[in-house]
């Protein structure tokens, strides 16, 4: 596989940026991506949506008793959620800085909140915006911001965590998922961290403490005792270097390896610690090194990358609502992870069913399938997806003959070949293939189809 294509998949969501990486070089490309100021502008459907749980409730209260109107509100929220998914996906795909979006999505999957459970799309939007603001800043600050996020407070029920009536949910996940990982704290630590979080509930833009609901008695966290609040608790947790190693392992998983080698976790954990949890220099060093030294074949491709890559390879303008719909059935429902642990990635991305579904979609794009089309149209009816353009167009830069085409496509698409594959490809595109023949494009698409369905294409 050509290095720039491989790295485009790792640093973004498709091979769209491969040519830029190739022309400016990896270092400059990374610099450009990491230095940029990413703007997040509030979309209209968010601006018009309820701004808090109370607003949402009073909307429902206003039509109390009228089943039809209540249902309409439910539908409206569902549609707003769906719009949000399409909107972030459009950002992922069309951004000039896909690496930044990929980092943001990593953190969204790290600090999971779901549209379904938060129920206030605006809060989820703020969560996304906050991540963008701090994703290249200090990790400790990011964790603090996240714990104060209305969306996260709602998702982990911290509004119910009050003095003398602890709800451990947020406290537990702060330790298990956001900082140390399982096995590095006791049940007692969880209780005390949870107590430090008592009274932290919803605020206007971000969470705030309700003084009367806050437990002001002394807490003991990792041996220190005091009347700690969320920020103090996080400071205490961050005294443990394990926080760095736990994060680094997950980052390496997200960008490079389903099974990150231990020595790399050590290495980049130290880098993050050296920089006192500053994320930008850490990311810069890790990307620079690993994009150069790590070969392909280490990571199962997630559905988002799979489908965006296919769209771009075949010059199909993505319909983001359709994509949101497909990703849901591929177990990568954007902003609706199945649980607080987020997508696990790796082998979890593929089952015989999801693999078969990927293949069916490729077949549909290339061979067409009226039944499938009808079914799809029917299922999408109520989501107002608009026009869907699904006419594939495959462009080869060097379509001189069969062997140049095969070489180019395999180099662009898969990390390695094997003799059997080569012989099968040679059967699809025979040596005497005429690139000027009337059906040349259709036959080239068959090569694409074969490659896209191969196990190798499921892997980066």
């Amino acid at each position: 596989m050509i290095n720039s294509h491989l790295n485009a998949l790792r640093l973004g969501f498709s091979t769209k940026q491969a040519d830029i990486i190739q022309s400016v070089g990896l270092d400059k490309y990374l610099q450009h991506q990491l230095d940029a100021k990413v703007l997040v502008k509030e979309p209209l459907f968010i601006a018009n949506s309820p701004k808090s749980l109370d607003e949402f409730r009073s909307m429902r209260e206003a039509v109390k008793g009228n089943e039809e109107e209540i249902q309409k509100i439910g539908q409206y929220i569902n549609q707003t959620n769906f719009q949000f998914k399409a909107w972030v996906m459009q950002r992922f795909d069309e951004s000039e800085y896909p690496l930044r979006e990929k980092i943001a999505l990593f953190f969204q999957n790290h600090f999971v909140v779901t549209l379904q459970s938060v129920r206030v799309p605006y809060w989820v939007y703020l969560h996304y915006q906050t991540i963008h603001q701090h994703a290249l800043g200090n990790y400790k600050t990011l964790v603090k911001e996240m714990v104060y996020s209305n969306a996260l407070i709602k998702y982990l029920d911290n509004q119910q965590n009050v003095k003398n009536k602890i709800n451990e949910n947020l406290g537990r996940e702060l330790l298990e998922l956001f900082s140390l990982g399982e096995g590095h704290y006791t049940e007692e630590d969880i209780k005390n961290v949870a107590r430090a979080l008592t009274g932290l509930s919803f605020g206007k833009e971000k969470g705030m403490y309700r003084p009367l609901l806050k437990d002001n008695a002394a807490k003991t966290i990792f041996g220190s005792t005091g009347n700690f609040d969320a920020s103090d608790a996080i400071d205490l947790i961050f005294e443990k270097p394990q926080v760095a190693y736990f994060l680094v392992e997950k980052v390496l998983k997200w960008f490079f390896f389903d099974q990150p080698p231990k020595h790399l976790i050590e290495k980049y954990g130290k880098v993050l610690l050296q920089h006192q949890y500053e994320l930008k220099p850490f990311f810069q060093e890790m990307f620079t090194q690993e994009c150069q030294h790590t070969l392909g074949g280490n990571q199962i491709k997630n559905p988002l990358v799979f489908f965006l890559q296919v769209h771009h390879d075949l010059n199909i303008t993505p319909n983001y609502k359709l994509l949101a719909f497909i990703l849901k059935s591929q177990a990568m429902d954007i902003y609706d992870q199945p649980n607080v642990k987020g997508w696990k990635g790796g082998k979890e991305w593929l089952t015989s069913q999801t693999y078969a579904d990927r293949n069916q979609f490729i077949d549909f794009l290339i061979d067409g399938n009226e039944m499938f089309k009808k079914q799809l149209a029917k299922r999408l009816e109520r989501f107002e997806v608009g026009t869907i353009d699904l006419l594939p167009k495959l462009v080869c830069n060097n379509p001189k003959n069969a062997s140049t085409i095969l070489e180019e496509l395999t180099n662009r698409m898969i990390f390695e070949t094997n003799p059997e594959m080569v012989s099968e490809l040679n059967q699809i595109l025979k040596y005497d293939f005429d690139p000027k023949a009337a059906n040349a494009h259709q036959i080239m698409l068959r090569v694409y189809q074969y490659l896209a369905k191969s196990p190798e294409f499921q892997i980066i």
């Binding site: 709800n167 949910n169 089952t351 094997n418 059997e420 196990p455 190798e456």
Partner: protein, 389 residues
Amino acid sequence: MERRKFLQLTATGTGGWLVLPQFLSASNWLANEENSSDQVLVFIQLNGGNDGLNTFIPCTDPLYYEHRPKIGITKSEIIQAINGMGFHPALKDLAKIAQEGNLTVIQNVGYPNPNRSHFRSQEIWQTASDSHQYLDHGWLGRFLDIQCANELVPSLNIDPIDNLALKAQKSNGLTVKDFQKIKCYQTEGEELKLSNNPQLDFVRKLQYASTEGMEEIGKALKKAAYFNESYANNPLAKNLEWMAKLIKGGLHSKVYYSSLNGFDTHNNQLQIHQKQLGILNDAIYSFYKDLKKNALLSRVTLVVFSEFGRRVKENGSGTDHGTAGPMLIIGGNNKGKVIGSNPNLSQLQQGDLVFETDFRSVYATLLQAKFQFSPASIQIKNEALKGVF
């Protein structure tokens, strides 16, 4: 507890099933098949930590109501079973199955040093590991690797995601999310190529398993096309219906697996739990009726479990993560008893029940009784639990 006493103490009416003419039964129809006597295990995993105390309820224990003033189930609503225990009202048909002597309840099942994280505790149940041990393969996967290494579909998981319990080294079981859909995929078999890249091998095996397995499934479904039973209308019931079809159609799978979400009842437990238990009850009862009618009940053992129970004391309108809980066994010629003592609410550990039976000893019983398989060969060292079969 003996079946006879069950019959006396159960408060619900008697069901009683019509005796069907022999020619309608699947076992008769399958009499000439070589696998007509094969044993099959079916698992239903309740995700999120099912509240055992509100499932099989210690309704005569005053401590139960003391700990659960809000979410305790009113005594008059509980379906009295035996010895101070009773079923949640949503489980009315499970009570009926118990009354018919085909349901065993194993009380207080758990493991030492319980972990209250969903993911980790599920992993522990699925791999049958110790609390601090991490295993790559599932307990059923390890069993199937030895027991049916040459089967194309040693296990079938009807669920959106693969289940770690079935993850094996040699034989890749099949995961199907939606049977309606899967019927469309028919591709010719391919040779399995093995490389030194684990990711690639995984995907290749998946490709192989999906193509090869689909053929077997297609054959079984064709054979079972004559059978048509009516099932409750919920997704779990649908999954069980597919399983019943495949069992009747002679699919060689030894293990079937499915799950039901929604048991993490931190809030609004009364309502949510009632609904989920209702789904469970309806699905199982449909499956049970089908198996009984087709004389398959002795061949099929259904096991229901969850990764943990919930905290004894209620918290707001729900409960927090706990430890031990009941396991249910239906069919497979079980003895229809209640095994183990009633939950001891006066001796708690950090507010949780102390486990009495290790879940691995239940696994050991299943393997020994149903397959004459030695649990030690898949690193399950616990002694088999007595009195189930």
